[in-house]
């Protein structure tokens, strides 16, 4: 595995108004690896990834993606850099077809042929979406909607995909399906950064993991090491 540093978060503070959520948090993502962020509710996991995609900008510290300083970058400028984002709650354009959803994912591509090629690439990867291309996104099952949200984020062929609770609220068979997709994406050479409440499952597939607690870095190790760390097991993995 190449060790190119993709995402470099250095000592960021994030606050919502008077309420500070993150305190000097560090995190790194290298090319082609899966990084999981785990921790109890209110630890600031979602805030951390939202600060990367411009939805809750950091007040202090630095966030770099490759050679770009993205600390203060507006949310709509993030996709063009090669960062895909799959928000919590399977946010799709419910009244549009599967195909239109994907085309909107390639909104920044002006060239029609390139856009269609990108749609075809995503359909290749997710044949299930191809079968439902003319269906309204709102009529899909929860798992299929999540698949569509991931597919949409892949339209610009991102090097880094950021996922907020990808398995939340899904039926068990869809949870398996989503985790299979995540492994597939790593095989394609993409880096993944995910927040996941299913901590044991996330650490099983993750190369590295970060444990946050009350807005501070608590542990940082390989996924396997965190899984066997007695403190982590006791606090977050139910023994």
């Amino acid at each position: 595995m190449s060790s190119l540093l993709l995402l470099d978060i250095q000592a960021i503070d994030v606050a919502y108004g008077q309420l500070q959520v993150l305190f000097g948090v560090d995190l790194h993502v290298y090319r082609g690896e899966i990084v999981a962020i785990i921790g109890p509710n209110g630890a600031g996991k979602s805030t951390l990834i939202k600060s990367v995609v411009g939805l809750s900008p950091a007040q202090a510290g630095k966030i770099r993606f490759l050679n770009h300083d993205i600390t203060q970058l507006a949310a709509h400028k993030v996709p063009a850099l090669g960062i895909g984002y799959v928000p919590q709650g399977r946010i799709v354009f419910a009244n549009m077809t599967v195909e239109d959803n994907l085309e909107l994912g390639a909104f920044l591509i002006q060239n029609r042929a390139a856009k269609l090629a990108s749609v075809a690439r995503v359909f290749d990867q997710f044949p299930r979406l191809a079968e439902r291309r003319q269906q309204l996104a709102g009529k899909l099952s929860g798992g299929e909607q999540q698949m569509l949200a991931i597919g949409r984020a892949l339209m610009l062929d991102p090097q880094l995909l950021i996922l907020d609770e990808p398995s939340l609220g899904l039926a068990p068979k869809y949870v398996d399906m989503i985790f299979d997709i995540l492994l597939q994406l790593r095989q394609q050479g993409r880096a993944l950064l995910m927040v996941e409440q299913n901590a044991a499952r996330a650490l099983t597939i993750a190369d590295r993991g970060y444990v946050l607690e009350l807005g501070h870095n608590r542990f940082h190790d390989t996924g396997a090491a965190l899984l066997t760390n007695p403190q982590v097991r006791k606090m977050y993995l139910g023994g």
Binding site: K77, A94, G105, F107
Partner: protein
């Protein structure tokens, strides 16, 4: 594809030509009615641009109409020609929309709607209290010698309606239209795929303010009298909303159909049942809203909807 061209290019051109030669053929009464139809059509399409296309429901769109109406009422007595007055009215509406857009478009959903409603009330009260400029609640009455004749006003209104429809026609099929559609569907998701939502909403808002500004000036020239209640009439705003929703919001043909239906119904009912006509109209609207929430156009077959490019 052929049929789409016939419907979306030939039909509008044909309607425009009919409307263009109408003054030669019809009575003053019908010309006046036609002017009112075009006025409502222009206003409905302007509401369609901000609210139908982005989903930001505005109860205060009429504030721009009122600003245009007062601009004309104040400038015409100074001896200005009516043509530049239309331009100044448009400009005033845009100048009001610039700061307003920056302030109100941060608000989402009902908050935006209520902010716009409140704003229209504030401006109406200013117009009532600023007696030196507006003559207060008594309003401004203009001498007919200052004003263009009925058929000139008719053509002005026709051109404004055509421009408003043209804007929707162009936006609907454009990349910008896609941005607005994405915002209406899900603003957060739109941002995630790279749409600059703040900028797109702002452009749509300012654009949608310009049309009522111009329409307001021509209304003053046509009506020769305005007061704060007729210029900043919440009722007029409700009518725009009804016409767009009735026909089908976010589409090109929807507001056209809605305007013609409401104005036609009102005219027929007013002539035959003067006492009850508003009540009957209200009931009809209630039925449509309850049973056809996507507008009358949703009754048509999918084939027709595609032909008319009515899919949202």
């Amino acid at each position: 594809m052929h049929q789409q061209i016939i419907v979306n290019i030939t039909l509008p051109v044909f309607l425009l030509i009919c409307a263009g030669i109408a003054p030669l053929l019809v009575s003053q009464y019908h010309l006046s009615f036609g002017l009112q139809v075009f006025m409502m059509l222009a206003l409905a399409q302007s509401w369609n641009l901000i609210s139908g296309m982005t989903g930001y429901i505005s109860f205060g769109q009429v504030v721009f109409f009122g600003i245009g109406a007062y601009t004309a009422a104040i400038l015409l007595p100074l001896g200005l020609h009516w043509l530049p007055v239309i331009g100044v009215g448009t400009l005033m509406a845009i100048l009001l929309a610039l700061p307003l857009g920056l302030l109100t478009l941060r608000l989402r959903g009902p908050y935006f709607a209520i902010a716009m409603l409140g704003l229209n009330e504030v401006v109406r009260i200013i117009a009532t209290l600023w007696v030196d400029l507006t003559n207060g609640g008594s309003g401004i009455s203009l001498s007919p010698t200052l004003l263009p004749d009925l058929s000139t006003n008719y053509y002005s209104m026709l051109i404004l309606a055509a421009v408003a429809c043209g804007i929707i026609w162009v936006v609907h099929g454009s990349r910008f239209g896609l941005e607005l559609r994405a915002i209406r569907e899900d603003e957060a998701a739109a941002e995630m795929v790279g749409v600059n939502t703040t900028y797109a909403k702002f452009v749509a808002f300012v654009g949608s303010a310009a049309i009522p500004g111009a329409v307001g000036t021509v209304f003053t020239m046509y009506n020769s009298y305005i007061n704060p209640t007729s210029a900043f009439a919440p009722d007029l705003n409700i009518q725009m909303i009804v016409m767009v929703m009735l026909g089908g919001s976010g589409t090109f043909w929807g507001p056209i159909l809605g305007t013609v239906l409401v104005m036609g119904l009102r005219e027929i009912l007013w002539a035959s049942l003067p006492a009850l006509h508003m009540a009957i109209l209200g009931v009809i609207l209630l039925i449509i809203v309850l049973f056809l929430p996507n507008g009358v156009l949703s009754l048509t077959s999918p084939k027709i909807r595609i032909r008319f490019d009515l899919t949202k």
